[in-house]
């Protein structure tokens, strides 16, 4: 699943944390796109260009178009090299691109942009950039897919911006892991379908290629003691919880008191036969009061 991350297009958020860093995954995905022949743009804001390019071999390095905002983010040296408008200007320039092949834009990092730019502007720009392929130009020629990979350090931001970016992203990869083995939890939101959630164990090799793995070995996980069998609570009771087949049939044949079946209706409507079983034999006692409203028994009715 991790290797087909880029198949969908749109914004891919790589959420990392202090324990599980995401820049190596970002570089691995960048290398993959470059090897596929896509155009790759990198907005470097957090680390220097040399550090980012380290580990890539020269043909990949030649394919990367690096926009450096680390050395001089506010363009104080005024050399004219940096793009006008800072990182936002660079992103907007990518919105109006003229060549139509597939392109990958890696944002290193999205956290930096979120801290330096207003969240709404960033969201709007990211949305425009990542949805360029859905608005084809006037001549109707197909536009290649745009992938925007954003590295987001989730500990730096509150729930507000994180929620806003998550709702914008097509794919969200959260890095985690157990005992040295890294995992990526991939949440994929397709437009009209249920989101899919998968976990993939992986590791990054020194030359930044992805190695997908199965998962941590079983022996290292502590298991419950297999010698104790699970306890059956229905055993050793003083009453019987099980029904035999005959008993079950008898139970099913019972009519419940609130069910108005036809037999019950007939029984109620039929005139009652002489009650052989429900007679009351009563001999009035000497002191018994036959007429309770006449205490002296002198009314002649």
């Amino acid at each position: 699943m991790l290797d087909s991350l880029l198949a969908l297009g749109g914004l891919v958020l790589l959420r990392d944390s202090v324990e599980w860093e995401g820049r190596s995954l970002l570089k691995a995905l960048v290398k993959k796109s470059a090897l596929c022949g896509e155009q790759v743009h990198i907005l470097g804001c957090e680390v220097s260009e040399e550090e980012f390019r380290e580990g890539f071999d020269s043909d990949i390095n030649n394919r990367l178009v690096y926009h450096d905002f680390f050395r001089d983010p506010l363009n104080w040296s005024k050399t004219g090299e940096a793009l006008p408008g800072g990182p936002l200007g660079a992103l907007r320039a990518m919105c109006n691109r003229t060549d139509l092949g597939p392109v990958t834009i890696a944002l290193d990092s999205l956290s930096w942009l979120l801290l330096h730019l207003p969240c709404t502007t960033l969201c709007q720009t990211l949305h425009t950039v990542s949805h360029q392929d859905s608005c084809p130009p006037g001549d109707g020629s197909p536009v290649g897919k745009v992938h925007v990979l954003g590295l987001l350090h989730e500990e730096l931001h509150g729930p507000g911006p994180m929620g806003a970016l998550s709702s914008l992203a097509q794919t969200e990869v959260t890095l985690g892991g157990i005992m040295g083995q890294a995992s990526a939890r991939i949440l994929c939101r397709r437009p009209r379908q249920r989101p899919t959630d998968q976990t993939q164990w992986f590791s990054i090799l020194p030359d930044f290629s992805l190695d997908l793995q199965e998962g941590p070995s079983i022996e290292s996980q502590p298991h419950s003691d297999p010698h104790i069998p699970p306890v059956d609570p229905t055993a050793h009771l003083t009453f019987n919880l099980h029904l035999s087949k005959k008993e079950r049939e008898a139970r099913d044949n019972l009519t419940l008191p609130f069910q108005f079946s036809s037999e019950k209706q007939e029984a109620l409507l039929r005139p009652r036969p002489s009650q052989a079983t429900s007679h009351i034999f009563y001999e009035p006692d000497a002191y018994d009061d036959l007429d309770q409203e006449d205490p002296d028994d002198d009314l002649d009715i």
């Binding site: 720009t125 425009t128 949805h131 929620g163 806003a164 709702s167 009209r192 419940l256």
Partner: protein, 425 residues
């Protein structure tokens, strides 16, 4: 509501949807007879707009939301001139479906549509509307669907939970013809292209309307909202939904749909921070929008990602400023998905507010516990649980036994248990 022409809010003119002439009258009561001053609508007095009907309770003009089950819960339908706010579910699957049902209902009834969105082109939204079930040959498939749903096990369960059998069905089963009030839609098929082309719609796509290089002057309303309000106002005025162009031949309803209002794509940072610069922007927008709607023949549906809003007090303000608020909570991704209690349903639906329009009381249903599910073709809303039956008419045990026990218990506490018939002193 003001005495100026409103949309069926006048009690005196119940049934007649138009009150355009009342601007010149002193009172808002109108004679039902033929007018002395011949105005242009010399047709029948009771002008009925397709797809609307007066409410049986207070004569308010109602339109269908596109889901007959939801119409029933809201007291018959959505009143013209009101706002229906849908609080989105987490992944915006079912709320966008309700949005589309609303728009599709507008197309089927011939209403004018206004679709506003910041993340999707309105033309694309209209292409993805569900197809209406209009023909009678769909009725067979409908019945099959219902039949397959009833499995033999459910009959066994009903022996004990017999009260559920006596429940009236929440929705009417069966497709209806196009002249009736609510329609059913097939969520798996797209609306035929001819219907879209025959309908009249206006789209507002935010990235096209504002250019990114525009220097935005700080003001109380976000720029995107101002543009949207101006757009709505223009459409209402030009097309005469507020009665301003009396030459219009046929009254019609304007259905406004606004998608994902409040998300950062509209330029509003209410989802990003707790106390942002534009924290009152959304509430002001709703206030002005409601003013526009009350003075025109229009209905609005808004979907809002309230689960992202950071300041909870704002959600309370927004609820007060809207008329009907329906919250959707889907089970996807939450622990309730595996809960056996909810296994038949896809989510819960919460009716958070129902308006009191020209009334002292609102038409609340007694059932608050509702779940929804999306079957192949139908979006159904059902009661999750029945409340305990505490009415007097239920015979828990015979009244004689109750009277006996009442006598034994003594007059103090026994009087209540006996009921009125058995009070004897």
């Amino acid at each position: 509501m003001a005495a100026v022409a409103t949309c069926g809010g006048d009690a005196g003119s119940a049934g007649s949807a138009v009150a355009t002439g009342s601007k010149s009258n002193v009172t808002s009561f109108q004679r039902r007879g033929p007018r002395a001053s011949g105005t242009n609508d010399s047709g029948p007095r009771l002008v009925s707009i397709t797809g609307t009907r007066p409410s049986v309770r207070n004569g308010q003009l109602l339109v269908s939301t596109g889901l007959p089950a939801l119409d029933q819960l809201l007291g018959g339908g959505l009143a013209v001139g009101t706002v229906l706010l849908i609080e989105e579910d987490k992944y915006n699957i079912y709320s966008s479906l309700l949005f589309k049902y609303f728009l599709a209902e507008g197309i089927v009834n011939g209403h004018t549509l206004l679709v506003a969105s910041a993340n999707e082109d309105p033309a694309n939204i209209l292409q993805e509307l569900p197809a209406p079930l209009l023909d009678d040959n769909c009725k067979k498939e409908f019945d099959e669907d219902v039949y397959n749903h009833k499995t033999p096990e459910s009959n066994i369960k009903m022996k004990i939970a017999w009260r559920y059998q006596l429940l009236p069905k929440m929705e009417q089963i069966g497709p209806v013809s196009s002249s009736r009030f609510g329609h059913y839609y097939d969520a798996s098929k797209r609306i035929p292209q001819e219907l879209i082309e025959a309908s009249k719609w206006h789209g507002f796509f935010l990235p096209e309307k504002i250019s990114s290089t525009l220097k935005v002057e700080p003001c109380s309303l976000t720029h995107g909202y101002i543009k949207l309000l101006q757009f709505i106002q223009n459409i209402i005025y030009e097309e005469g939904f507020d009665g301003s162009n009396p030459q219009k031949k046929q009254k019609n309803i304007l259905r406004i749909g606004i998608q994902n209002l409040g998300s950062p794509l509209w330029g509003d940072d209410i989802c990003c921070t707790e106390n942002g610069d534009s924290s009152h922007s959304l509430t002001k927008f709703l206030y002005v929008l409601r003013g526009l709607l009350r003075t025109s023949l229009s209905v609005c549906i808004i979907t809002m990602p309230t689960h992202l809003i950071q300041n909870k007090a704002v959600i309370a303000h927004i609820t007060n400023l809207s008329d009907i608020v329906v919250g959707l909570e889907s089970f996807i991704g939450s622990e309730r998905e595996t809960n056996p209690l909810y296994k038949d349903y896809h989510g819960l639906i919460h009716i958070r507010q129902i308006p009191r329009l020209n009334n002292l009381v609102c038409d609340e249903s007694d059932v608050k516990d509702l779940g929804f599910k999306l079957k192949r073709k139908l979006f159904t809303i059902e009661r999750l649980h029945l409340p305990p039956d505490l009415s007097d008419t239920v015979s828990r045990s015979s009244k004689q036994d109750l009277a006996e026990s009442a006598k034994r218990l003594g007059p103090g506490c026994g009087m209540m248990a006996g009921g009125k018939k058995h009070l004897d002193f």
